[in-house]
């Protein structure tokens, strides 16, 4: 039954673009049907995942497939199920959002194409999670990557979209090669390509570490770990917003899933792998948010926050690996639980934020936050829902982001209980790293929300903005509600996380029960305090209405200046300036500064443009250098037929000399 539901979800989701294509002439109906099919697929898939998360036996299916080494093997275990829920939920909500945001009625073929890829990417993501065969996994993985390419290219004439899509495609394809190698090596060592035959891989020795590093690179590239994140900001910014929500919210998570799955194959991963994950995660967390702070483009900024959150997730995963290396169930539970819950949470609030960004972009026709402002008057719902997402991603209680970060922190504190002298106890440094990341994220989202929604509109477009239609608001509302629900009742989700941790680590569930119960008790108090906080806010708000002597309206106090204009507002760049200054060694911003000169300066300007340190400063110059070198090599073959003949002669002589002289 579970299996049938899961398979139906994959098939329906993959085919969900077809109604839009079939009902070409009735665009409204067609698109609604498409969205409906996708929502149905999501409902079925989630219905399949929930029993597994609640303790039902995992669903396993093994069918032959007429390709060498491949089989249509599916498995829905708790690890897959945890990922499956957001992977289906977010696209389904996105498709509803798309009804108004990317209407087939107005956009015609572009929307139809988008829906086809959108459905297919959802189906292939679900298939990635369900695959129990390496080749089926790779197959779904690459289809997913290709779909992503076409999704980013939804507006094929835009240069930035072309570039971003291309960079994305290259990153996805090259990353796949690392996975290719990983699967190939493991598969040929094990003689089977079914994951079920890949358990208990030996993990000692340098060879195992190199092997694992292959998986780390391949999946880390998809997940966007620093320094492999370079493709991500461009792609997520260029895509339409519900696509960005899908890519940033859930597509990245397939990388996390792969990383977890691959690590899970190994018998007992050494502590060094955990440390590697912690370091990479910490770097991603801090640098991701540092890059984000410097951005002016709302969606690029959000994309960099995905790097940050992937960092948090990776830190959790690192703790879990450390826990397995040291045989500490509490570390495994809290690390894995934090990572997995953050996967879900990030999917929720990041999608919410991207949908909000899309709403803003649609209303004000720009993504540049310096050209926005004061939108909360015109679009109160969008502003309010965006604020929920902003608070959640900053890890503020009582929302869901806090809960998962809290679990990761709790996990790393468990490292303190390791015996004295165990270097693994330095994993506790995750705590300050997370604190820094959380505080920086809060700073960044204060900047974003303040600059975009609060204050005065900075341009006429921003002033003329209007609220988005209901089809766009309802999905955001659902996501916000989910953020609140998880934040309020974290204890509810711990059993499922414990099952996931058990299925990932191979530890018996009973070993994980004790730490899970402890965490659950604490989480209950977190809920209690959340209630207290809400109650306090409510009663203080009530009190606030009762005291005081009326209210008057006036101008903003500008230290005595009577005519403040929007141009005098603090900009987002100014807001982040102090922190950007602190991170200037990794940001490499391009600064254009024309200082005021003379006693009566006429014009002065100052602008900074953030650059992508890895892509713009490392990879692209490298590629340009390679192309230049390649064309120099090509120049050597000037097209002369003598030279062609000489090559033949030389090859003959060389091969003859190579072996014949040595017999």
């Amino acid at each position: 039954m579970t299996g049938a539901l899961a398979i139906a979800a994959v098939v329906l989701a993959s085919a969900s673009g077809l109604p839009g294509l079939a009902l070409w002439r009735r665009p409204v109906l067609g698109q609604r049907l498409s969205a409906g099919v996708l929502c149905l697929a999501a409902a079925l898939g989630i219905a399949a995942a929930i029993p597994v998360l609640a303790g039902a036996t995992p669903f396993v299916l093994h069918l032959p497939w007429h390709q060498p080494n491949a089989s249509l093997s599916l498995r829905l275990d708790p690890l897959s199920a945890i990922f499956l829920v957001p992977v289906l939920l977010v696209p389904a909500l996105g498709s509803i959002y798309g009804l108004a945001y990317f209407p087939q009625e107005g956009l015609g073929a572009r929307a139809v194409r988008l829906q086809l890829w959108y459905g297919l990417v959802t189906g292939s993501m679900a298939l990635v999670l369900l695959s129990d065969n390496a080749l089926l996994f790779l197959f779904a993985w690459e289809v997913m990557a290709i779909c992503g390419f076409f999704l980013v290219l939804a507006d094929p004439d835009r240069k930035d979209a072309q570039r971003a899509a291309w960079v994305y495609l290259v990153a996805a394809h090259v990353g796949t090669f690392a996975i290719f190698a990983f699967f190939s090596i493991v598969g040929s060592a094990r003689g089977t390509f079914d994951f079920s035959g890949w358990q208990h891989l030996g993990s000692t020795g340098a060879a195992a570490s190199w092997l694992w590093a292959l998986a780390l690179v391949g999946f880390g590239l998809k997940a966007g770990l620093v320094p492999l994140h370079f493709w991500l900001p461009g792609a997520h910014a260029a895509a339409p917003s519900h696509v960005s929500a899908l890519m940033s919210g859930v597509l990245l998570k397939t990388g996390v899933y792969g990383m977890l799955r691959a690590t899970g194959f190994f018998e007992s991963p050494p502590a060094s792998w955990g440390v590697a994950l912690l370091v990479l995660g910490g770097a991603s967390g801090v640098l991701g948010v540092a890059f984000a702070l410097a951005q002016h483009d709302l969606k690029r900024l959000l994309a960099y926050h995905s790097v940050e959150n992937i960092g948090i997730i990776t830190m959790g995963a690192g703790l879990a690996v450390l826990g397995r290396a040291r045989g500490e169930p509490a570390l495994v539970l809290l690390g894995f639980g934090g990572a997995a819950l953050h996967v879900v949470n990030h999917a929720l609030f990041k999608s919410l934020l991207f949908l909000g960004a899309g709403s803003v972009q649609r209303a004000a026709r720009t993504r540049d936050i310096e050209r926005l402002g004061g939108l909360s008057r015109a679009m109160p719902w969008t502003a309010g829902l965006f604020l929920v997402g902003a608070a959640a991603i900053s890890g503020l209680p009582p929302l869901n982001g806090f809960v998962s970060e809290w679990l990761v922190v709790m996990g790393s504190l468990r490292a303190l209980e390791l015996p004295a002298g165990d270097r693994a106890s330095f994993a506790v440094l995750v705590v300050p790293a997370l604190a820094l990341v959380g505080a920086l994220a809060a700073a960044c989202f204060a900047k974003v929300h303040g600059t975009v929604f609060l204050g005065h509109p900075r341009t006429d477009e921003a002033a003329a903005a209007h609220e988005s239609p209901r089809f766009m608001l309802v999905p955001m509302g659902v996501l916000a509600a989910a953020c609140v629900a998880i934040g309020a009742l974290p204890a509810l989700f711990l059993p499922a996380l414990a099952r996931g941790a058990a299925s990932w680590s191979g530890l018996p569930l009973s070993d994980l029960a004790a730490p899970a119960a402890a965490a659950s008790a604490s989480a209950g108090l977190v809920s209690g305090l959340a209630v207290l906080l809400v109650a306090l806010v409510a009663s203080l708000a009530f009190l606030r209405r009762r005291v005081g002597a009326g209210a008057a309206a006036g101008e903003t106090w500008s230290c005595g200046y009577g005519y403040p204009t929007a141009r005098m507002e603090y900009t987002g760049s100014s807001f982040a300036q102090i922190l950007n200054q602190g991170f200037r060694r990794v940001l490499f911003p391009r600064v254009r500064f024309q200082p005021p000169r003379g006693p009566f300066p006429t014009s002065a300007r100052f602008s900074t443009e953030p650059r992508e340190a890895v892509l713009d400063l490392t990879i692209l110059p490298g590629i340009r250098g390679y192309v230049a070198a390649a064309s120099r090599v090509r120049g050597l073959l000037a097209g002369r037929v003598h030279f062609y003949a000489l090559l033949v002669l030389a090859t003959l002589v060389f091969i003859l000399a190579w072996r014949l002289l040595w017999w």
């Binding site: 504190l413 203080l540 102090i578």
Partner: protein
């Protein structure tokens, strides 16, 4: 039991404005003035609560929610902090994370309220507040981790509880280092000199004060009250860390706690009197320095 809980809530809600009064009085005495009465803070609050308020036409509900959420968050955080010689009202493993994040929530709400006015000055204040806070945050957490390591407990009540006495005998250098770091963090978080000057009248140099320029009447009262509670919280943290383990007795602990808090206020007042405000660009150095100190403390323990 109930009595103690009441005492805790009472001390949390009633004591804070007094502490700020102590600081002001100390500064006045050092400067050779008489200064306002110790209870001036309470008078101010009472007066502000009766007044009307002016709202900029630019602002929205975010502006009005700021003080409410800020105060509620700080007060909620207070329930997790153990007052004198006893555990807090709410205590669980990892509560200090919630404690710190609730303070962050208060900051976030205040910063957004400031940005809601659209004023350049308040934006500037908000920017400085969140920037410096994000530099102080790792130091705060590191101090708490040091405590956790030293006492083997993961809740604030446990960290600052009976285990601390043995910890002082075993790991005094580390605890001392982290106490210093925590004091720096307390100064920064509460916008005291040398990070910020609460008494200044030049908006360009202000941090916290400039952020709340537009708040008036009861809103301002909420903010001031919240700020004083926050000051109290950091003071209580330090007092428990340094003083508490050495004091026994039924009510002796309470007396010592209150006395310690007053001492903390005096210390802050003295610092404010004898130090100049740092240039803004020097502030990050100080905060990073605090983090480095506490990392050092942690390494001492992990070694």
């Amino acid at each position: 039991m109930i009595l103690r809980a009441l005492f805790q809530i009472g001390i949390l809600l009633l004591l804070p404005p007094l502490l700020l009064g102590v600081v002001t009085r100390v500064k006045a005495i050092v400067a050779g003035r008489r200064g306002p009465p110790l209870l001036q803070g309470y008078y101010d609050l009472a007066r502000l609560l009766r007044k009307g308020s002016v709202y900029s036409r630019t602002t929205t509900w975010v502006f009005r929610a700021g003080p409410v959420v800020g105060l509620a968050a700080v007060a909620t955080a207070g329930t997790m902090l153990p007052a004198a010689g006893q555990p807090a009202i709410f205590s669980f493993a990892g509560d200090f994370v919630l404690f710190a994040y609730l303070l962050a929530l208060a900051r976030f709400a205040t910063a957004l309220a400031a940005l809601d006015t659209g004023s350049a000055f308040e934006g500037m204040g908000a920017a400085r507040e969140v920037s410096f806070a994000s530099m102080a945050e790792p130091a705060l957490f590191l101090c708490l981790v040091v405590l956790a390591r030293a006492t083997g407990s993961l809740s604030l009540s446990g960290m600052l509880g009976p285990g601390l006495a043995t910890a002082w005998s075993g790991a005094a250098p580390a605890l001392l280092l982290s106490a210093i770091a925590l004091f720096v963090v307390a100064l920064a978080e509460n916008s005291r000199i040398p990070v910020d000057d609460p008494g200044t009248h030049l908006e360009l140099t202000m941090i916290h004060e400039v952020m709340v320029l537009d708040h008036s009447g009861p809103d301002l009262a909420f903010i001031l009250y919240g700020a004083s509670i926050k000051f109290f919280l950091f003071g209580a943290l330090l007092v428990r860390l340094v003083l508490d383990p050495r004091v026994q007795g039924i009510w002796g602990a309470e007396a010592a706690f209150v006395g310690g808090l007053v001492g903390f206020a005096v210390l802050v007042g003295l610092v404010e009197s004898f130090m100049a405000r740092l240039r803004l660009t020097r502030v990050p150095q100080m905060l990073v320095g605090a983090s480095v100190l506490s990392v050092f403390a942690l390494v001492l323990l992990l070694r």
